[in-house]
Amino acid sequence: MARKDLLDIASLHREEIEFLLDQSTSFKKLFTRSVKKIPALEGKSVLMLFYEASTRTHSSFEVAAKRLSAEVTNFNVDHSSITKGESVRETIETLQAMRTDYIVVRHGHSGLPGMIARQTTASVINAGDGAHEHPTQALLDAFTIKEKFPDPRGKKVLIIGDILHSRVARSTSTLLQKLGVEVAYLGPGSLVPKYVPASIRRFTDYEAAMTWAPDVVYLLRVQMERQDVQFFPSVREYHRVYGITNTRLAEIRDRGLYIMHPGPVNRGVELCDAVMDYERSLITNQVENGISIRMAVLDWLTPGGEFPRQEAYAAQQRTSPPVIVP
């Protein structure tokens, strides 16, 4: 069951997922102890390579690594300049020379962690790549749901918001489906593509989605930075149509539904302020569970070994022989 990298949920087997969730349970038990550190990764180095700013995921990985006694280094990424694939490749060469054991990478380009993984012996963990995947987020979401529903098969999760740009939606829905959870999407037509997998139900309005009787309502963060292209007319309209308003919260409370959100929350957009005090909001549980999940992942991966495609990569670097023409 050893793996070098964690790049996506799509390629994870059910047994691997169950294993990680179980391990996470054990690690979480540590948190109540006075000494929260264990020596599992003593002498190992974890390098944080974040091309997109993210306080939450970054600090969660950092705490997880430190609780496993690993050394954590932050690789300084210049957020002000546009970081393209070319400069990333130079960075990878540097990192390989440093012989780091784990690389936690976040980048705006889909597929980039996979490219790094093919070129280093370090274990690469995808901490979010473009609109592709965010596997540890999915694992912590599943873990959080399993705490409430130990057997989640047949439970229903309604994911609301920007599906098009959301790596969380992709990873979490894939993982939940692997665990037998039913998943539905709801969001603006401009942000829920018509070609999402057929296994995912799609609702066009909130009321219809409620009659489906979900157990969990999962709100995605509205990415304000994408508002240079208008996907919906206004934040006010978004909140009214797709947000959890005060009226909707009352109904959610009556139905006893759980609320989740990957954070950070745009208050008054995805959620009204009152959700923060709602007893069935799992948002802080998600943050807490992020640490034990990331410990489980770091502990599970096995760095070292061969570069999977190093040979092919090296061959690509060779230039073709010159052609001599008479």
Binding site: A10, K84, G85, E86, V88, R89, H109, S110, G111, L112, G114, M115, D129, G130, A131, H132, E133, R167, R170, P193, Y195, V196, P197, Y313, A315, Q316, Q317, R318, T319, S320, P321, V323, V325
Partner: protein
């Protein structure tokens, strides 16, 4: 003097292969027949079992010179062509500087005569520096033999500019080749919008971005009385749009399809393999099937590779950062045989017609034919042999192709142009 014995001869007119000997004297086909007498001093080539066909002609290649000689040069590009059985090409003008003036065209043609063993023709830009604003020096380019005008790589965005160019250049007997894509819809990433783009988390380019411009440019050509040639069609509805306009018969439209759009789908991109990143992007199996139908029906007049070299350094980036395009000259003929002729999807006549005769006609050139009195311009193809597309095999300076290290059926054994044997394996 060259005597090819017992060759099977492919023509554009019939799927049936004729069998016989072909005698080439001083670069001309002097005789064709059964058991020709062996003239003294003739070199005899036993062509038994092999197919003799006219040299291919690729009306859409990027040779990157001037400006990007690290990707390809006229020499390496034309050697790749010979390697794949192609004996004539038309370069696209998106070089640096762009080929938008007589001066720029003259430099390229001058280079081509010294640095290529096959004829290299070039198209010229529609607009200055391909900016879509001011008309390029159209008549000046015509005096140097330019026939095709295109801003390939981009659509001439402003329809008024293109219409004016069409009205102007048609007077000089020139025609327009259109790269069809609404940039606002397509975005910068060459990936079909659909199931795959969702899975990979990359903004896709919808097929309608292509369909709209195909229709727009044909309408403009109709209004101007111009001839428009639609380049590298990738979508089913794009093909159907062309078919519909052709059936009306009131506008001169020709169109091309690239081998990769017939053979691959967006599913092949799999794990972000940049060798499948091209523009227009690979679409779905339904599109491939429709394109093949269109090719067989003649909606597509010709096959062209859109040979687009990029250095390994550029292509070894992540999918989003890597440039669009794949090479095609080394691999086109063998891959067409492997994927279509050998499995019986179409015959050699279609290959000869669409990849040799029609592209030459489009360019107003004499058709290469294996007929008495014609200049020798032909190749020998072994249908039993195989080709492995290793880096050593490929002659293009860049080797960004999905065929890398693949073994396909068929092999180009010999390429003859005039009195010279350009290639012999």
């Amino acid at each position: 003097m060259l005597l090819l014995q017992n060759a099977r001869i492919a023509t554009e007119n019939s799927p049936v292969l004729l069998e016989g000997d072909v005698l080439i004297v001083e670069g001309k086909i002097q005789d064709i027949g059964k058991s020709l007498a062996i003239p003294e001093g003739a070199r005899i080539i036993d062509a038994r079992g092999r197919i003799l066909m006219p040299g291919m002609f690729d009306a859409h290649v990027h040779f990157r010179a001037p400006g990007f000689e690290n990707k390809e040069t006229i020499t390496t590009g034309s050697e790749a062509a010979i390697n794949g059985g192609v004996t004539g090409v038309v370069m696209m003008p998106n070089t640096r500087p762009a080929l938008d003036s007589a001066t720029a065209i003259a430099t390229v043609l001058e280079n081509a005569t010294h640095r290529s063993r096959i004829p290299v023709y070039t198209s010229g830009c529609v607009t200055k520096n391909r900016e879509g604003k001011e008309l390029a020096e159209i008549e000046g380019m015509r005096t140097l033999g330019v026939k095709m005008l295109t801003d390939d790589g981009d659509t001439t965005a402003d329809p008024a500019v293109l219409l004016r160019a069409m009205q102007y250049a048609t007077e000089f007997g020139m025609f327009f080749a259109s790269h069809c894509e609404v940039p606002e819809l397509a975005g910068p990433r060459a990936l079909n919008e659909g199931v795959m783009s969702y899975r990979l988390g990359i903004k896709g380019s919808p097929a309608c971005a292509e369909e709209i411009i195909i229709d727009r440019d044909i309408r403009l050509a109709r209004a101007a009385g111009a001839h428009v040639h639609i380049q590298h069609v990738s979508s089913k509805l794009g093909m159907e749009t062309i078919r519909w306009w052709k059936s009306r018969g009131d506008v001169k439209v020709t169109a091309e399809v690239a081998p990769h759009h017939l053979m691959f789908t967006d599913e092949h991109i799999g794990d972000y393999d940049t060798n499948y990143k091209m523009n227009p992007p690979l679409r779905t199996q339904a599109d491939c099937d429709a394109l093949l139908e269109g090719l067989k029906e003649g909606v597509f007049d010709l096959i062209a590779t859109d040979h687009a070299p990029h250095t390994p350094f550029e292509k070894a980036q992540d999918f989003i950062s890597a440039p669009n395009g794949i090479t095609g000259l080394d691999t086109a003929l063998v891959s067409l045989y492997h994927h279509f002729v050998e499995p019986g999807k179409f015959g050699w006549d279609l290959v000869v017609k669409r990849y040799s005769a029609e592209p030459r006609r489009l360019m107003g050139l004499p058709v290469a034919a294996i007929e008495v009195g014609q200049p020798a311009d032909c190749l020998l193809f072994d249908t039993e042999a195989e080709t492995t597309f290793t880096r050593e095999f490929m002659k293009s300076k860049s080797q960004n192709t999905p065929f890398i290290d693949q073994t396909l059926k068929g092999r180009v054994d010999m390429v003859i142009l005039g009195a010279e044997i350009l290639l012999e394996r």
